[in-house]
Symmetry: C2
Subunit: 590 residues, 2 copies
């Protein structure tokens, strides 16, 4: 096959789109792969569609290889099934809702667990029908507050979503592993670096869950990994609890004057100056206990304050807080919250006061108090004395104060020990490119999907849910395959195999290029032919660099001597090749 | 390739779905091709998706053959472009509208003229870039009041829509003809009967317009055709005006008593009994002038009454009225309308009364009066005298009454002359399967799509719009390819090339079937293999008939003698064939 650039519906742009924040967005628009229609909503031009189809087909091949079957659901779905699982409400502002002319409620589905569950319930009834893995590649919708970064986070996007159906836990493990393995093959074929991290199941419910993250500084997710092989999303990281110590030999707590120390930094400075540690070591933020007031908004709309106590060298990680308190939403307490609780002395909050416990359900404030796992029994802390300008020193957990429970909301630090003992972790940023979940029986239970087992007994089906963002993956590939001049596609998703440029006005150039394109076509190459008669070689080279076909052939004046240049876009090497050896030279570079 | 029925996600149903009104809907659901999700909204199961893809690919091939290029637009689009062309309003209740979290208006697009126009405006600026034909295959939405008939008229449906861009009228003619020719080839390849009829351009604007109708009694459209080659949608049919006659020798009109004759039938009966025609011929409905009051609702919401006078043997065809009065909406006048106009004596309305003209802008009522082209000057009529129980006989058009204009809203009768002189027409029903439009410059003008021509002058682009309903076509194919037992797919869209049935519990049956499937796969057949071990041959045969793969091979007891049966589903012939000749036998039947 071949396509003439003079006929192709594409225009390259010299200017970056004004709203483009990331490289892939800039380049995909400038090279004429996509065009913006509305915030987070794009039209796909011929080049973009070709790349997208190639990605889709790689995904299809790997899923069908283990027996997954393709179906296709509508984007427009009725409210009822999402009402049963409560997701109609839980999605909040995050989805598009609409009514038809009869005032019936619909949504543009962001994911399809409910209707897949109902479809299988509709058709299947016996354990003999299982296991079953179904998938679709389909346009999905999310009403993002700030759609940005082009295809990396759009409001309309194409997803491959799969769902597995088993009637035993062991079966689910197998289906999960099949998807996980297929995802590894898919990302390997796409040449995408990935790290598989333990993930929190979040709003999807269920138990085991892993994310495929592509490490990149523009990633939205932070993950941790140890040299020993541990990897987890920060939301799923588990802090190794500090060991409890004996109270023996610990001195009593002591309230000291600490004027003007509402922050950890001012407190540590003053403590080192006025109240140095008896053994001479300097106080650090890690010696203080910071008590952060959070406001939780529950699903039913009621709110609650909660105080989290954690070492003063750590902030609350709001993403971890989101997971820890789900389905309630956590946010910082407001000035009104403090006004309503005069027992909370801002800047000097602590669990203890001379008059008794201040934090905790049984304390004077009655506010729930949760501790970071690092605050172990027997550890001593500098913390607020609930009086302006005063802190208490040597306040010992378990002896002087107790909490209502433990909570994992402290930020993870590089060097923290991995929970599996595989050593200290490092932090990195990544972009989610795939996600595998064990949903378990949540959806099947809510929607009544049961089958008869070998003994004729009705059992609830157990499910998995597996997603790959197709359009996002295309952006991630673009993000990691480019240089200052443009895109450089991996061969198996490039819009064309080879880009032939007729460079020069001589008749021999045009006729040689035409003949070469014909012979490459015959050899099975899909060729983009820059045949534009009135465009200079320089502009053609620039367009070729921007478009990103990885192999380029320049037909120039050497054509008269039967030679052309083969240009490897990725290595930037150009080699003079005899005309009858071009096919072989390209094959060797593919 | 091969697929085992034991693994395929499908269940055949013995019962018809309760809401199914047409054969294709019943069979596609029962055979497990589609499943209902909401009114007019379906999920696609593996078999349905396979057939749909094959149809899509045939469409793609024929469009790309003449250089059309594929793009892909979102379904969710912003209001603005549709506001510019006024279609946001004109679509009325017919589209889905929604708002995002920032209260910006969006629609689920039913068709994409506006955004294609803007896309080309965005990228192209010179006559050298044209002609251009772009297309997409994409899920579209219409908020139908009564979605019915399965895929024939859904609320979510897949369309192939193309748009052509030219800068001369002659160029548009070429692009139009290219699409028209491609459509002919597509329908021929799909084995679909079609008639190309002149169509009214309707809400799309523009000039030349033709529909591809598939003749079928369940069609929603009525069309007419003459033996001489004329064909038109009834909406686009033009009545040959009756010739004007001289008034010479015509007797004066006469008001006669016609008690209790509010209908044409009672009037004709009474006229023949009490006021027989002087020449002895019986009066017929065609001798009466029926005056129908319609209410027009204009785009700005104002309403107007209009009276249409037409021969009493014809009803007003509301579809023709819709076209004749567009963009106003026409409906029957209500009781309130009559109450507000006491000059209109229901059942006895006529243009004339002894006191003067009653109908027409200059008459006593001031109501606009329009005549059917058959009511020519010099023709005499029996019509209402605007007095209860009275009609006027021999009222002559042009002499005794005049109208404000002519209107084409009378129903077309079999035997009416074709406007091109090609003889009398017959009426038939058809289902629209394709539509080609010359939009002209309407959208380009509204949205400012201009290019520089050869002389450096800005000229407005002229466009065409071309649609094929992909999912509807699949239903139409199912509708015309079935028998009492199930579907019978044409080979090039069948989900599989051949359906192999292992019929019997003998080991030789299973092993022979396995081997046969393997060898057919090797020969390039895509095989559906009914390997279900515990299902009786009778049930397997019934399923094969329902699923509709056109070629079936039954491996039964004859397997021991090296023979199987090849079953041609369409002719219902079964032939015993030696195992090593099966491939050849199937090839000969393809």
């Amino acid at each position: 096959m071949s396509t003439r650039l003079s006929q192709l519906f594409v225009r390259t742009l010299r200017e970056d789109p004004v709203d483009a924040e990331v490289t892939s967005h800039r380049l995909l628009v400038r090279a004429g792969y996509i065009r913006r229609q509305a915030p987070g909503i794009f039209a796909w031009l011929p080049l973009g569609l070709k790349v997208r189809r190639k990605i889709e087909n790689i995904i299809r091949e790997e899923l069908e290889a283990f027996g997954a079957q393709e179906v296709h659901f509508p984007a427009l779905l009725p409210r009822e099934p999402y009402e049963v699982t409560n997701r109609w409400t839980e999605y909040g502002d995050g989805i598009f809702r609409l009514q038809d002319r009869h005032k019936a409620d619909y949504l543009l589905a962001p994911t399809h667990e409910e209707v897949f569950t109902l479809l299988v319930k509709d058709l299947y009834s016996s354990y003999k029908d299982l296991p079953l893995s179904l998938y679709q590649i389909q346009d999905k919708y999310r009403d993002e507050a700030r759609p940005r970064a082009g295809l990396l986070r759009g409001r309309e996007f194409s997803m491959k979503d799969s769902y597995s159906f088993d009637y035993t836990d062991a079966g689910l493990e197998v289906s999960y592993q099949q998807h996980r393995d297929a995802y590894e093959r898919i990302f390997q074929r796409l040449g995408l670096d990935y790290v598989i991290v333990k993930a929190d199941a979040g709003a999807m419910g269920g138990s085991r869950s892993e994310e495929f993250l592509h490490p990149t500084p523009i990633g939205e997710d932070t993950f941790v990994r140890s040299a020993g092989g541990y990897a987890a999303n920060v939301e799923a990281f588990t802090t190794l609890p500090a060991p409890a110590r004996s109270f023996e030999g610990l001195t009593p707590a002591e309230v000291l004057d600490t004027p003007d120390t509402p922050t950890i930094a001012t407190l540590v400075a003053l403590a080192n100056e006025k109240h140095p540690r008896p053994d001479g070591r300097a106080w650090t933020a890690a010696d203080t206990l910071k008590n952060i007031v959070l406001r939780l908004t529950h699903l039913d709309g009621t709110t609650e304050l909660v105080v989290v106590g954690l070492p003063g060298d750590r902030e609350v990680d709001m993403k971890r807080a989101e997971v820890a308190f789900a389905p309630a939403e956590a946010s910082a307490a407001t000035a009104e919250d403090f006004a309503r609780h005069p027992g909370l002395v801002k800047g000097y909050i602590g669990p203890w006061s001379p008059a008794g416990a201040v934090l905790g359900e049984k304390s004077s404030t009655g506010i729930r108090f949760l501790l970071d796992p690092l605050v172990a029994d027997g550890t001593g802390w500098i913390t607020g004395a609930n009086e302006h300008g005063h802190h208490v020193f040597g306040l010992v957990a378990g002896r002087d104060f107790v909490a209502d429970g433990v909570v994992e909301v402290g930020e993870v630090h590089a060097g923290d020990p991995a929970p599996d003992g595989s050593g200290p972790v490092e932090l990195a940023r990544g972009m989610e490119i795939g996600h595998v979940f064990q949903l378990g029986r949540k959806y099947a239970e809510a929607l009544g999907l049961k089958v008869l087992d070998e003994n004729g007994k009705l059992v609830t089906v157990t499910m998995g849910s597996y997603g790959i963002g197709v359009t996002r993956i295309m952006a991630v590939i673009a993000e990691s395959n480019n240089d200052g001049k443009g895109l450089i596609w991996p061969a198996n998703v490039a819009p064309f195999d080879v880009h032939v440029i007729a460079a020069g006005k001589e008749e021999i150039v045009a006729s040689t290029a035409e003949a070469l394109v014909g012979s490459l076509e015959e050899s099975g190459f899909d060729v983009l032919f820059d045949d534009r008669p009135k465009v200079s070689p320089g502009v053609k080279f620039g367009d070729a660099e921007l478009l990103g076909v990885p192999l380029i052939v320049i037909v120039g004046r050497d054509a008269a001597e039967g030679r052309v240049e083969v240009w490897n876009r990725r290595s930037n090497e150009r080699t003079s090749v005899a005309l009858d050896e071009v096919g072989a030279a390209l094959e060797s570079l593919r």
